[in-house]
């Protein structure tokens, strides 16, 4: 417990320190508004148009959202969170924009400011509402647009702005940079698990995340152990630790650099760590960002490990002691990525009894802190309301522990559990696999 709270505290203070660095915007209000609008217009396309035109205001999306369900506050209705985007669409792009302009007012900076807590504090882009909508409206990607528009208007919450700033200035995220990663690799090699770093050529490239480096180094080590066991020609890239959703252009810049690095090494496979947010970006969005299909295949590590087990290339022993677990589907690789079966195959191979939560697979509830939300200090209470739903579902399974494949989820579980004084272990699926590798 103390170890957990220690790394939590260190992350928290790092995040809090980041907030202090952010100064006032240097742009005028009009410029900020224009920038936000430019992001919206740039990202909105015909598919969003069809969604925004079809919304019936039925309010069912609220019933999917853990923030609404946890608070019963109407403003947390998912579609309401994209209201400014809808306005801009209707006034600028919609077929009836001439009429709309006569009848409605333009968005204001104050409006965008008012929406900051709605798109950052009370949304993790988990996408549960996307499944609920009877019209098929995909709300969470539009929240993404809202966020990038707000970022362009210098309206990122202080903690997130600080993190972006840090990455821009120092190349580290939450204090985790290349140096820390090198140290981690050295320690790992010393412990008998070599981590090949930045090799000039490899078949398989692995990325890691700041959270792994700072809080969950075991997850990285476990990954390395498995890759070594599979005797793959692999390397860990140290250049790009994290992909912060801090604005379209920066995100694209990152993606382009990563793709270049992988292509340069001739790798055919990209493995993403037990980290959520990189997955949809690299697996699905990147092809659009670089303008052509990726020349390699992208897997989440949990997905990869599950596949290797299913295909018989990776052998695992039944876990000593066994016991029951439940599996938390991380939104980014589950609902946003389609990885449901592979982690469960791994759990079955370990001989663990899988007790599913009522909402599992594509309808799984978010841990409550994804999408950078867990960094925002003022959103702590909100986060906890959402987490309580998760706790209830976990408790209802009667499982002894929770396994997951995302360290953001793990981090948030631990923080929430500490806050609620809840004693349910949340552990890494990959670590469990690595601990039970068969010869």
């Amino acid at each position: 417990m103390s170890a957990t709270t220690a790394h939590l505290d260190s992350l928290r203070s790092a995040a809090a320190a980041l907030g202090g660095r952010v100064g006032l915007s240097r742009n005028t209000d009009a410029e900020r508004l224009d920038k936000a609008r430019a992001v919206m217009l740039g990202e909105l396309d015909g598919s969003h148009a069809a969604y925004l035109e079809t919304c019936l205001h039925c309010g069912m999306c609220a019933e999917a959202c853990h923030f609404y369900l946890g608070t019963n506050e109407a403003k947390y209705t998912p579609i309401w969170k994209v209201e400014p985007l809808k306005k801009v669409y209707q006034r600028e792009l919609g077929p009836m924009r001439w009429l709309r302009r006569m009848l409605t007012r333009d968005i204001t900076l104050a409006e965008l400011e008012a929406w900051q807590p709605l798109v950052y504090d009370s949304c993790t882009e988990c996408g549960r509402c996307d499944l609920m909508c009877p019209m098929g409206i995909q709300i969470s990607p539009m929240i993404g647009i809202m966020r990038r528009a707000l970022a362009a208007a210098d309206l990122l919450p202080a903690e997130l702005a600080g993190a972006v700033d840090e990455q821009k200035q120092q190349g580290s995220v939450l204090g985790a940079g290349r140096d820390q990663l090198l140290a981690l690799a050295r320690d790992s090699a010393a412990a008998g698990v070599p981590v090949p770093l930045d090799l000039p050529a490899a078949d398989v490239v692995l990325l890691t995340s700041a959270l792994d480096v700072k809080a969950f180094p075991d997850s990285l080590r476990a990954t390395a152990r498995i890759l070594n066991k599979l005797k793959l020609h692999w390397t860990l890239l140290s250049h790009s630790i994290d992909l912060l959703g801090s604005g379209e252009s920066l995100r694209e810049l990152h993606v382009r650099r990563i793709v270049e690095e992988i292509v340069r090494r001739g790798a055919k496979t990209l493995l993403l760590p037990e980290c959520g947010h990189a997955y949809p970006a690299l697996r699905f969005d990147s092809a659009h960002m670089i303008g052509e299909p990726l020349p390699f295949v992208v897997y989440s590590i949990a997905e990869f490990v599950g596949q290797e087990i299913q295909d018989g290339r990776l052998k695992v022993n039944r876990e000593p002691g066994g016991g029951s677990v439940t599996y938390h589907d991380p939104c980014k690789i589950g609902r946003h990525g389609g990885v449901f079966e592979e982690p469960r195959a791994a759990i079955r191979a370990l001989g663990l009894e899988l007790k599913e939560m009522e909402s599992h697979g594509r309808t799984n509830y978010c841990c409550g802190g994804g999408g950078g939300q867990f960094l925002i200090a003022r959103a702590a209470q909100l986060r906890q309301r959402a987490f309580e739903i998760k706790m209830r579902e976990v408790d209802d399974t009667g499982a002894a522990k929770v396994l997951t494949a995302c360290n953001s989820c793990r981090f948030n579980y631990q923080a929430g559990a500490a806050e609620a004084n809840w004693h349910k272990p949340i552990e890494s699926l990959v670590e469990h696999v690595a601990a039970n590798l068969a010869d």
Binding site: A50, Y51, H57, G59, H288, G338
Partner: protein
């Protein structure tokens, strides 16, 4: 010119032209807009099938989601079905459709058609009340929502009054029939500009979602 003649003649002609023009305008404006082409490697293929499947499956949400929206779901189904049953299978309506299509079809008995109209009317009124009182719905509702419900209710209401000869304000049967037709004109004129367009947009939106989710390997 009497109300009935005005409704059957110029009013309906104009309403239909506005309807056809507006619907095409809006649909073309949406579907000819620039669209990103997704170049990512799909996790699952048969994307079209995924889209079609979504059109069906979005009518049947999974259990965990469904149990939160039982009322909306059941009432939504009930009023749509009842509304269309009375619209399409009430015998005096058949000649109306036949004039466009050139063919008619069997009808429900008046009792059943009227009963289903009554069900639709009752649910719509309940939904109107709910929209005005439920916190979430109040938050997200616009004039469009209220106008669309009211304009959907009026043909039902005037239809009933016409059939049952409930004639307030000294109105006579032919006036009420005229008002019934005028309420349909109003519905047609409003149709392209508000949410009623989901008649045409719901399936394309679901299809899009289905294709997107199929690409990700998630059941829509």
């Amino acid at each position: 010119m009497s109300i009935l003649e005005f409704a059957r003649g110029p009013a309906f002609q104009v309403a239909l032209v506005v309807f056809a023009f507006g619907v095409c305008w809006r649909l073309a404006g949406i579907f000819l807009m620039y669209r990103r082409f997704d170049r990512s490697q799909p996790r699952q293929h048969a994307l079209i099938a995924g889209g079609v499947r979504a059109i069906v499956m979005r009518s049947l949400p999974p259990h965990e989601l469904e149990k939160k929206i039982v009322f909306q779901h059941v009432s939504g189904y009930a009023w749509h079905l009842a509304y269309f049953a009375s619209l399409l299978f009430f015998a005096p309506h058949i000649p109306f459709f036949k004039q466009f299509l050139g063919f008619g079809w069997p009808t429900l008995s008046n009792t059943v058609a009227l009963l289903s109209g009554a069900v639709a009317l009752a649910i719509l009124l309940a939904l109107l009340w709910r929209r005005a009182s439920h916190a979430v719905l109040r938050q997200i509702s616009t004039l469009d929502d209220y106008l669309s419900i009211v304009l959907s209710i009026l043909p039902l209401l005037t239809g009933f009054m016409t059939y049952a000869r409930i004639l307030p304000l000294g109105l006579r049967y032919e006036n009420m029939l005229g008002l019934h037709l005028l309420s349909i004109c109003a519905l047609l004129v409003w149709f392209p500009f508000g949410k009623l367009m989901h008649l045409f947009l719901a399936f394309p939106a679901r299809f899009q979602a289905g294709v997107l989710l199929k690409r990700k390997g998630v059941e829509a």
